[in-house]
């Protein structure tokens, strides 16, 4: 795994270099030649989605996005930038923790007893191109969830181990972004093999690039590049720090974990429930939501059975169904479960927040429910309650 080994800065960062657009072309070619499946952003169906890239030509050069709560629109960009967009409808989770996985199958043996076959893990050697710093953090969170504890998920490991991550530092936050509040961006600090910062100005379209692992350095050495010049360095640093100033959203400056824990009976939960469709879109797009359900299927003869794991969500009434009915029967209890887990109890479970501030849940919620707004409202309500005992 290329994650934790670099996280503590064990690997000494190599000097920065500059790639041009053709440097990216070669990068994709080199990675593919190394047997990598390269995944990156590309335009499909009116959005910037993540998909397999045959070449760097498929990157969304010249496309940006206009984001608001419950609203996503593509827009043309004059500057031809490839990575100046955020909060697409999927995250890297779709590749590392796929929505549907067969876990085992069984056939009736000659003596009638079932013979169970574990699913062979298909090893996929991924390279993710254009991972935003918030998403880099989300991958680290998923690492802890899926492989950090006693139960190490073989499907996740087969896809995650050795994955090559190319971060794209954030120079263009969306109106729904708040990575600064969550401490996950806009600069990439660790956990990548290569990090790019896109710069477009009078001196041209280029990418300041640094490696964060041995393999990153080796790949970089195969690319046409030049050593970093001061203007490019300054422009890159300037673009990233300007991004930090332009966050569209922010969280209240309080301990969110305490806020969640101490306000389980707030009136605000009723208010948000009136707007919530329980549609689960927020959990499906969230780069860290990991919940699944199990489906056992048989064939018509009854001689063959399979167990599948599918994405599920705390918004699904069936998700908490135990004998006698669902534990979280009301939409109110389901929204509350989601938010208090994400911002609160996630800390108890996995030692960090479950939110990285990517804004996807805000954008892709059809009714535009915004967790930052909900957190502010909960905080206001709590403060008001304290003032008026």
């Amino acid at each position: 795994m290329t994650d934790a080994s670099n996280a503590g800065g064990v690997f000494e960062q190599r000097a920065e270099t500059v790639l041009d657009r053709d440097g990216l072309d070669v990068l994709v070619r080199v990675l593919r030649r190394r047997g990598r499946t390269v995944i990156g952003p590309t335009v499909r169906d009116g959005a910037i989605v993540l998909d397999e890239l045959d070449s760097a030509d498929a990157l969304p050069y010249g496309w940006g996005v206009e984001l608001e709560a419950g609203r996503y629109r593509l827009r043309r960009r004059e500057d031809g930038a490839a990575f100046a967009h955020s909060a697409g409808p999927q995250s890297w989770k779709s590749f590392l923790h796929p929505e549907r996985v067969r876990q085992w199958s069984a056939d009736r043996g000659p003596d009638g007893a079932p013979v169970v076959r574990e699913e062979a893990q298909e090893r996929i050697s991924y390279a993710f191109l254009g991972v935003r710093p918030c998403d880099l953090r989300a991958i680290q969170i998923l690492d802890r969830v899926m492989s950090g504890g006693r139960y190490r998920d073989p499907t996740y490991l087969s896809r995650r181990t050795g994955a090559f991550l190319i971060a794209a530092e954030c120079t263009e936050p969306g109106a729904t972004c708040f990575c600064v509040s969550m401490g996950s961006g806009p600069a990439a600090d660790a956990g990548y093999d290569l990090a790019l910062t896109e710069v477009v100005d009078d001196a041209g379209h280029r990418f300041l690039c640094r490696s964060g692992s041995e393999e990153g350095a080796a790949v970089l050495a195969e690319l046409p590049r030049r050593s970093a010049d001061d203007p490019t360095r300054e422009a890159a640093a300037q673009a990233v720090s300007a991004a930090a100033e332009r966050m569209g959203r922010s969280m209240p400056l309080v301990d969110l974990r305490t806020l969640m824990r101490d306000n389980l009976e707030a009136e605000r939960w009723d208010d948000v429930t009136a707007r919530c469709l329980s549609c689960g879109n927020c959990t499906m797009v969230c780069p860290t939501c990991f919940c699944t359900t199990t489906e056992d299927v048989t064939d018509l003869t009854g001689d063959h059975a399979e167990r599948w794991r599918l994405w599920d969500s705390c918004y699904d009434l069936d998700f908490s169904h135990l004998q006698g009915g669902p534990v979280r029967a009301t939409p109110r209890s389901r929204y509350r479960q989601w938010l208090t887990h994400k911002l609160g109890t996630w800390h108890d479970q996995f030692d960090s927040s479950g939110c990285v501030g990517c804004g996807r849940c805000i954008v892709w919620c059809p009714t535009g429910i915004d967790l930052t707004e909900e957190a502010h409202a909960l905080h206001r309500e709590a403060a008001h309650r304290e003032r008026t005992p």
Binding site: G46, R73, C279, L300
Partner: protein, 272 residues
């Protein structure tokens, strides 16, 4: 397809397929199960299925699939007979589970229609309302859709044969839509979509082809229409358009949801 290794047991479970007021589309879904049909015929004795055989055998049946709504006095009587002959009764499709598109008349003047449409209305025997089968007899399982999904039908039959609960989720079309990796048509294009309130089952067919869901599977297990209606208005639908959008194949089911509002928004929570 695997051939059974043990000799065929003398009595396979007997299947009966029946229809009331409907278009036949749902029962034809059974014939559409091209890959599974031979296996279904091997595992079940298809005893009564007029669309497939002109030799209907009498009941009792172990599994009965019924499509169509109760629309005439004769249906009322027939569904009771069918129920009496069925060990397990599964209703299939929007007509059988919600009254179908013909239930539009439940909200209109039926006598007026009869007089306008038919030269001799006195020959027409019809009930004032078209109703789901569950309004009249006990139903063991309701399979939604207009028409039903082939994969779901096979799952219901397979689950019956295995004696297990069918894996048919109650959540909304949005779950299937996101699992399929679609770009949401409402968020990205401002296209009205009933997916958030519609029962999953089709695999989010319509959004996959860039159009909004029009609710042919009826309401999902949890719905919040009052939260969805303002979005449809924002995206250009008038109140009348929205009424039409909701009142099609599953008119009675969506009307019930509209009338009851969203169940469980108050704080009467279950355990936990």
């Amino acid at each position: 397809m695997s051939t059974p290794t043990t000799p065929q047991p003398p009595a396979r479970p007997r299947l009966g397929v029946f229809k009331l007021a409907s278009c036949d589309g749902c029962q034809l879904t059974l014939l559409d199960c091209e890959d599974e049909l031979l296996c279904i015929a091997a595992e079940l004795e298809i005893a009564h299925f007029p669309e497939a055989s002109s030799e209907p055998a009498p009941g009792p049946y172990d599994l009965v699939l019924v499509e169509g709504s109760v629309s005439t006095p004769e249906h009322l009587e027939r569904i009771r007979r069918i129920r009496a002959d069925a060990r397990h009764l599964v209703t299939i499709g929007a007509c059988a589970t919600a009254g179908g598109v013909q239930a539009l008349r439940n909200y209109a003047d039926v006598e007026g229609y009869l007089a306008t449409v038919y030269a001799r209305p006195e020959y027409i025997e019809t009930l004032a309302a078209s109703t789901p089968i569950s309004a009249h007899v006990a139903v063991d399982f309701e399979l939604r859709g207009c028409p039903i999904d082939r994969g779901q039908l096979v799952e219901v039959i397979t689950a019956f044969l295995a004696g297990r609960k069918p894996a048919i989720p109650n959540h909304s079309v949005c779950f299937s839509c996101k699992r399929r990796g679609n770009v949401c048509v409402t968020v990205a294009h401002g296209t009205p979509c009933l997916g958030p309130v519609t029962h999953a089952g089709c695999g989010a067919l319509c959004p996959t082809y860039g159009r909004g869901c029009y609710g042919c599977f009826g309401p999902a297990g949890t719905t919040n229409l009052p939260a969805l209606v303002p979005l449809m208005q924002r995206d250009g639908m008038s109140e009348e358009d929205i009424g039409r959008f909701l009142h099609t194949f599953n008119v009675t089911a969506f009307t019930a949801v509209e009338e009851q509002g969203q169940p469980g928004t108050t704080d009467a929570e279950g355990p936990g």
